[in-house]
Symmetry: C2
Subunit: 137 residues, 2 copies
DNA sequence: ATTATCCCTACCTATTTGGTAGGGATAATT
DNA sequence: AATTATCCCTACCAAATAGGTAGGGATAAT
């Protein structure tokens, strides 16, 4: 399952995209209220997104957040990897977070590995949809 | 990510299938040793599989486990649902474990929902592979 | 000076995960 | 009848993760 943090993060980015008008940044308060996300929890998520350079912030009285990386280049998979970690369901078939399964005897002949590699290959194209695509759905 | 329990469960069933010869049941000890699964932890998993009527057990000195439901009718998705729960990555698109996302404002227009329904639809056929298919990979 | 925002650290509770411990029941074998 | 190898059941446990909350400091517009 996706964590709420990732769900919140994606909803946040969609909201940001749909409200990046008249050159004003979008405040956390506004996101929190419109997307039903606990304010303080949202702040933590926004920080993560900023630290990973997806968005940038502006401080002060009319501060808020904007995209740093263009919305049409940010995919759902990107967000999932930043917040939740690997897309793949077992670590030994993850491209970005590879790890040996510690109980595995022979990775080369592991049937689970073949199956979950197939699975990952089917999942990835779907998750490569961008924030912009997603907003237009 | 899959839990180890589910990984162990699938490996257990493959092992069971590949060793159901000469009409003798397969012992937990044998599974544990050959598949590198902690014995006591495995016993719990076997119990779950038995309680869900995928396998049956025989007690006594030459006891062990056999399939109750034929191996060619048990899919990876079945096992995942028994041990880990839903396949879908968000609860509102799960077929077997549907639940409303509590922060969701309008399910009908939720973009995430559309995306993750697509995703589930891509995942399911892969996970519908049976233990027998998997063993032959 | 006030206010609205972002920024940072610390803390907290409940649940899940991945086990372990100990012993009872059963049935084949000796 | 005793031994042994198995399954069966309950209880417990430590570490990690999830989903927050609390409190206050820094910044910049008004």
């Amino acid at each position: 399952m996706l964590t709420k943090r990732t769900k919140y993060a994606i909803k946040t980015l969609i909201y940001l995209y749909e409200n990046e008008v008249d050159n004003k940044p979008v405040s956390a308060k506004s996101i929190s209220e419109h997307e039903n996300i606990p304010f303080k929890f949202l702040e933590k998520i926004l920080r993560e997104l900023r630290q990973h350079r997806l968005i940038k912030s502006e401080r002060g009285a009319v501060g808020g957040y904007r995209f740093l990386k263009p919305a049409n280049t940010i995919t759902v998979a990107d967000v999932m990897r930043i917040i939740d970690g690997p897309i793949a369901l077992i670590p030994c078939v993850s491209e970005n977070f590879y790890q040996k399964c510690d109980e595995c005897i022979d990775e080369e002949t592991c049937k689970l590995r073949l199956l979950f590699r197939d699975l990952r290959d089917k999942m990835l194209p779907v998750l490569e949809e961008t924030i912009v695509d997603l907003s237009k759905k």
